[in-house]
Symmetry: C2
Subunit: 425 residues, 2 copies
C-alpha cells in the first residue's frame, strides 16, 4: 500500500466529513457502540492473542496491563461513547456575528480541523476513544497504535469503520496504519494531514516534531512541581504529595520535584521523608535536604528529570519567588501546585507560573480530560498555541469566517464613499 | 550583542509582563501614544533619511510608499492605539468555571502567550501597531523590521520603549533587532520565544518555518479564488472581480484565479475580458477561455501561482463541485468567494471550501483585521490551529487551568470513595 495515496484519499473525504449533520455523526457513534458490543468476542479473542504474544516476548507488566481489552474496558469505552453523544455539538457554533456595514455580515463559525493523525501507545481503548472524538468533531482520522496491540487494533478498526461507513460516513474518512515504517511515510504527508498528535515518550514526541512539517500537538515532558509554602497546612501536604507521586508513577502529571519553603523545612522534611520511604519512594535532595533527611544526593540534572518512577527530588527555597523562578526555569509548563492556606500567595503563584495547570492544595494527578469533565481527551498539550492542557473536542475544531455581501467592494471604503459601522449582532 | 542572552532576559520578564493590570497596560499605551506625538519631528527626520537612502538605492515605488511615515501615518497609529485602549481586556477572561466536586473548582482563564517575535516588512507603522497589540495583550515582544526602515524603526522603538518603561512595563519586555544576521540567532531561541510571526513573501515565511523549532504563525500563500456561479448576478460580478484584483494587487487577499460556470461563460467571459483589459489586467486562460476571449494561455502552473500583479487566470467549470475541488486542491486556504444569488449554492460552497474566509458576493480584499473590526492585526493566518484568518488580540492570548482544592487527591476518585459531579458555575 502506498501510504501517501491512501492519505490523499482521506484528505479528499474531509469536506464531506465536515458537512455531516450532528444527527448523522451521533448516529454513527451509536452504530459504532452497538457494533463493538455485538462483536465483543472477536475483539477479546484478538486481544488474548496479542497478550499471549506480548508475554512470550517478555513485555513489562504495566504495558501488559494497558494492552488488556476485556469486558470492563468495553464497558468503559461504550459508556464514553454514550457520554460523547450527549455532549453539545462542537461544530457550527457561531463565535462572532457582526454587521460590518449595511448588507455586509461576518460570522465566525466552528468547523473541523480536517485530517487528524494520531500515533498512540499499545492501548486498544485509546483507538476507540480517538475514533469517537474524531467522529463527533467531524474530522477524518488516521490511526497508528502500538505494535503490541496489532491484532486488537485491527479488529477494533474493522468494526468501527464498517459501522461508521454504514451509518453514512464518507468512504475514506478513517485509515489504520499497521507497520511502524508507515509512520515516516505519514510524516511526509504535509498538505494532506492537518494535525499530528503523537502520544508516548518525550523522546518519541520530539522525534516526530523534528521530522515533519505537519503541525504537531504533543507534550514534550511532564516535569510537575509541588511547592510547599510556609503557610501550608502540613497535614494536607503529605497525602497530596503521596498521591501526586504514587497514585500512578508513569503518568505525565505525576510530581517529580518538591520545593519546600525554608521556614517549615526543618519541621516538615523529616516527616515527609519517613512517609515517602514507607510508600516505597526514593527521595533525592540538595545538601540541605540530605542533612535533614539523610536522603540520596540530587544534582542539577535532577531538576530537569521526568523520573516516571518511585523517585522524587526535593529542594529548599527561601521564598515563593524562588519557587516560581525554579518552576519556570526547569519545569515543562505542564501542571504545578502550591500548597498554602494563604490565598494571596496562591494568587501570586498561579499568575506567575507559566504552566497549563496551576493548582492550589490538590494533587497534580487531576490534570486529565476526564477529570476536568471533558468526557475524553486525545492528549495533553504543553504548547501554548491552539489547545493547552487536556485536549477534548474543543481542541479538535477550528473556525472559518463567512462573509455575506451584495456586491460590496473594498474600493468604496478606501475612497471614503462608504464606512464600516461594526455592529455586533 | 549576544542575541540569545538578550532574548533570555525578555523571557525572564514575561511573568511580570503577564501580571500587569489592565489599567497599567492601558496607561502604558496612552504614554506611548503621547510620546509619539510629542517627538514626531525626530521620527519624520529619521524617516526622511531612510527614504533618501532608499531612493538612492533605487527601491521600487510601492516599497517607498509603505516606508513613508508622515503626519498622516502618525495620525493613523495614534488613532489605532486609542481604539486599542477602548477594547475589552483580552486577559483574565474566565472561559470555563466548573465545580468538579465539593471544594474542588476548575477555572480556565486567558493569559498572554509570553514572548512574541515578529519579523515584518519595511513599514514603520507596523512596528507601532505590533508593539501596541503586544502591550495590550500582556506579551513581551521582539521586533525585527525591514532594513530599509532602519532609522525610523530605531527612533520609534526608542520612543515606545522609554514611554512604556516609564509607565511601569518590566525592563526587558521589548527588544529591537536591527541586523538581518540576528534573525538566524533569533530562530535558535527555542524555549525563550513562544511564537514567531513572520510577515513577508511566501518564500520568506517558508524559510522561517523550516529553520526553527519555535511555533510559527504565518501565512504561506494567498491564492484566492472567485467562483462565478451559474446563478450569479453578472452586473455585480464585474465590479467585485475588478476590486478583488486591482484595488491593491500586491496584497495576499487579492484574487488570482477565476472559476466560471459553463452555463454563463459564453455570455460573461468576453465582457469580463474587455473590462479587465480596460483596467490594465492581463487575462490568462485555459484553451476554452482563450477561444472566447483571445487571451493568453494559462498552464497547470498558473493554478498554483500567487501573481501579486495585474494578472489573473480563468478556467471554466461544469459545476459548483468542480469549483470547490479546484479551490481545495490548488488554493492556499486563505479567502475564496462565490458570486451567486442562490443561497443554497452559497451554503454548499461555504461548507465545503476549506479556507479561513469563505465569502458570498463581495470582494476577497475584505479579509483584513481592520475590516473585520478587530482594530488591528499582527498578520493573517492560513493555518487551522490556534488563530485562523486575520489575527488580532485574541490570537495573542492562551489560557491556563486553575484548580483550587482543599487537600483533594486522585486516589479517592480511583477507589470510588469520592465521585466527580461536574457542575458548571
Amino acid at each position: 500500500m502506498e501510504i501517501r495515496e491512501e492519505v490523499r484519499k482521506v484528505k479528499a473525504a474531509a469536506p464531506q466529513m465536515a458537512a455531516l449533520s450532528e444527527t448523522q455523526r451521533n448516529q454513527a457513534l451509536q452504530a459504532v457502540s452497538d457494533a463493538l458490543a455485538a462483536r465483543k468476542e472477536e475483539i477479546f479473542a484478538a486481544n488474548e492473542e496479542d497478550r499471549r504474544q506480548a508475554e512470550k516476548e517478555g513485555i513489562a507488566a504495566p504495558v501488559l496491563k494497558r494492552l488488556k481489552f476485556d469486558e470492563g474496558k468495553l464497558h468503559d469505552v461504550t459508556e464514553g461513547i454514550r457520554d460523547l453523544i450527549g455532549l453539545k455539538d462542537p461544530l457550527r457554533q457561531t463565535q462572532l456575528a457582526r454587521e460590518l456595514d449595511e448588507g455586509l455580515t461576518l460570522y465566525r463559525v466552528t468547523c473541523p480541523i480536517g485530517v487528524i493523525g494520531v500515533i498512540f501507545e499499545a492501548r486498544p481503548d485509546a483507538l476507540v476513544q480517538i475514533s469517537a472524538l474524531c467522529i463527533k468533531s467531524g474530522n477524518c482520522v488516521i490511526l497508528k497504535g502500538g505494535s503490541e496491540a496489532l491484532r486488537t487494533n485491527k479488529i477494533l478498526f474493522q468494526i468501527i469503520q464498517k459501522a461508521a461507513l454504514e451509518a453514512g460516513l464518507p468512504e475514506h474518512s478513517m485509515l489504520l496504519l499497521e507497520a511502524r515504517s508507515e509512520i515516516s511515510e505519514l510524516l511526509d504527508c504535509y498538505g494532506y494531514v492537518d494535525l499530528l498528535i503523537p502520544r508516548g515518550s518525550n523522546q518519541f514526541v520530539q522525534y516526530i516534531m523534528n521530522h515533519t512539517r505537519i503541525p504537531v500537538m504533543g507534550h514534550a515532558d511532564g516535569i510537575c512541581h509541588i511547592y510547599v509554602d510556609k503557610e501550608a497546612d502540613l497535614k494536607k501536604a503529605i497525602p497530596v504529595i503521596l498521591d501526586a507521586k504514587t497514585q500512578y508513577v508513569s503518568a505525565c502529571n505525576a510530581v517529580e520535584t518538591l520545593l519546600i519553603h525554608r521556614a517549615i523545612a526543618e519541621k516538615f522534611l523529616p516527616e515527609l521523608a519517613k512517609e515517602l520511604k514507607a510508600h516505597g519512594v526514593e527521595l533525592k535532595g540538595t545538601r540541605e535536604v540530605q542533612e535533614l533527611t539523610g536522603c540520596v544526593e540530587a544534582t542539577e540534572e535532577d531538576n530537569r528529570k521526568e523520573y516516571l518512577d518511585y523517585i522524587v527530588s526535593a529542594k529548599i527555597v527561601d521564598s515563593i519567588q524562588e519557587a516560581i523562578d525554579h518552576i519556570n526555569t526547569y519545569g515543562s509548563h505542564h501542571t504545578d501546585c502550591i500548597l498554602t492556606e494563604d490565598s494571596g500567595a496562591a494568587e501570586e503563584f498561579m499568575m506567575l507560573v507559566d504552566s497549563a495547570g496551576v493548582y492550589q492544595n490538590c494533587s497534580t494527578r487531576f490534570a486529565d480530560g476526564y477529570r476536568y469533565g471533558f468526557g475524553a481527551e486525545v492528549g495533553i498539550s504543553t504548547g501554548k498555541l491552539h489547545a493547552r492542557g487536556p485536549v477534548g473536542l474543543e481542541g479538535l475544531v477550528s473556525y472559518k469566517y463567512k462573509l455575506f455581501g451584495n456586491g460590496h467592494v473594498v474600493g468604496d471604503y478606501a475612497s471614503g464613499k462608504r464606512t464600516f459601522h461594526f455592529k455586533d449582532l
